[in-house]
């Protein structure tokens, strides 16, 4: 772990990542066992099946599943993205893109159930694709959380999580966006939690001279 101040949070983070993985595994098993992985099975689950003596899903039944997920999924993604972004494991753009994919696939997965039942059965493909995408992003978030406390190298110019910090330097100081806590600690300065390092040595590291090997 690069920032020694994150060390006490190592095990709570590991426990959270573990439970995230277990929850994702449980979701995958439940999807396969209750719904199925083929579009026909998905349609039969939502629209009912005479052969299986299964009735179509009611609006109440769909909401019973959707409402807790509309709370749990965004909350989980928010906390995970916040933790990963806070430690600046990813650059801002990949972090935003990755968050967008995760939130988008979660929303598509929840909405697709209603769509199949009330709009168009052809959305069964969307349900499967959204679920697969969401599971993949969950696994990736889990890996990023683990990388967070394993001290994965951070790319230069990563997120500026503490940019609103009143302790951040203002006019007259050479400010360089960097990785908040991780970079501040790496630069050997006082551990004040500001994300804008003002070290004289920073530009050399942040911008190598033209032609130099990266």
């Amino acid at each position: 772990m690069r920032d020694p101040r994150l060390a006490p949070f190592r095990w709570p983070l590991a426990a959270f990542a573990l439970m995230l993985g277990i929850g994702a595994a449980g979701a995958a098993v439940l999807f396969v066992r209750k719904i199925g992985l083929s579009p026909e099975a998905v349609r039969a689950f939502y629209l009912g099946s005479e052969a299986a003596f299964r009735r179509p899903r009611s609006l109440e039944g769909l909401l019973e599943v959707a409402v807790p997920h509309l709370l749990a999924v965004p909350l989980t993604l928010l906390v995970t993205a916040h933790l990963v972004g806070f430690a600046a494991v990813l650059r801002p753009r990949p972090l935003a893109l990755f968050s967008g994919v995760a939130f988008g696939s979660a929303l598509a997965g929840i909405a697709a159930g209603f769509g199949i039942r009330f709009l168009w059965p052809g959305l069964a493909w969307l349900k499967i694709a959204a679920f697969a995408g969401f599971e993949a992003t969950l696994l990736a978030w889990m890996a990023l959380l683990l990388a967070l406390f394993r001290g994965a190298p951070r790319a230069a110019g990563a997120a500026v999580p503490d940019a609103d910090d009143p302790a951040a330097p203002r006019e007259g100081l050479v400010a360089r966006p960097c990785a908040g806590l991780a970079a501040a600690s790496q630069a050997g300065g006082p551990l004040r939690g500001t994300a804008v390092a003002t070290r004289a040595a920073s530009p050399a590291r942040a911008r190598p001279p033209p032609g130099s090997p990266r």
Binding site: F9, M19, P68, F86
Partner: protein, 161 residues
């Protein structure tokens, strides 16, 4: 997260009232969870076996997977929040580590034990393992809540503690 990591004494002092209110709710949640299981008759091996009905299902019962799916969310957030608040509290690292380890191990047993019969029919003692895990997780998290309630924001801690 930032105020937890920075641990500026004034920030911790400001955060103390809402954090303690949150911890009181965490205690209520844990007690209510135990009461809910008691109401369902799931605080004894026979009740647990009736709840999950694992026999004859190759990959464990759907009820067990549903409990695992929902429980992982609950335990994940409790372990993260209570563990982080403990980490920012002036409690000994051994106590913090012990409480987190007991709670995590208990949670894993609580969630995973109902799936053990899928490994072999009539897996012995899975219901007792499940109950022991639930007890360990609940008591560990309750103790963590109480320690954090008493100690959070009491004084600034050393950054490397």
């Amino acid at each position: 997260m930032r105020f937890l990591v920075n641990r500026a004494p004034d920030a911790l002092a400001r955060a103390r009232p809402p954090v303690r209110a949150f911890l009181a709710f965490a205690v209520l949640l844990l007690v209510a969870g135990a009461a809910q299981r008691a109401a369902r008759g799931a605080l004894g091996p026979a009740g647990v076996e009736a709840l999950y009905r694992p026999d004859g299902q190759r990959f464990g019962s759907v009820a067990a997977w549903e409990a695992l799916h929902a429980g992982a969310f609950l335990y994940g957030f409790l372990l993260l929040t209570l563990g982080s608040l403990l980490a920012a509290s002036p409690a000994s690292p051994r106590l913090r580590g012990g409480l987190l380890a007991v709670s995590t191990a208990g949670a894993l047993l609580d969630l995973g034990a109902p799936l053990l019969p899928a490994l072999g029919p009539g897996f012995p003692g899975w219901a007792l393992l499940h109950l022991a895990g639930f007890a360990a997780a609940t008591l560990g998290l309750l103790a963590a809540s109480l320690v954090a309630f008493a100690r959070f924001g009491a004084q600034a801690r050393r950054p490397d503690a």
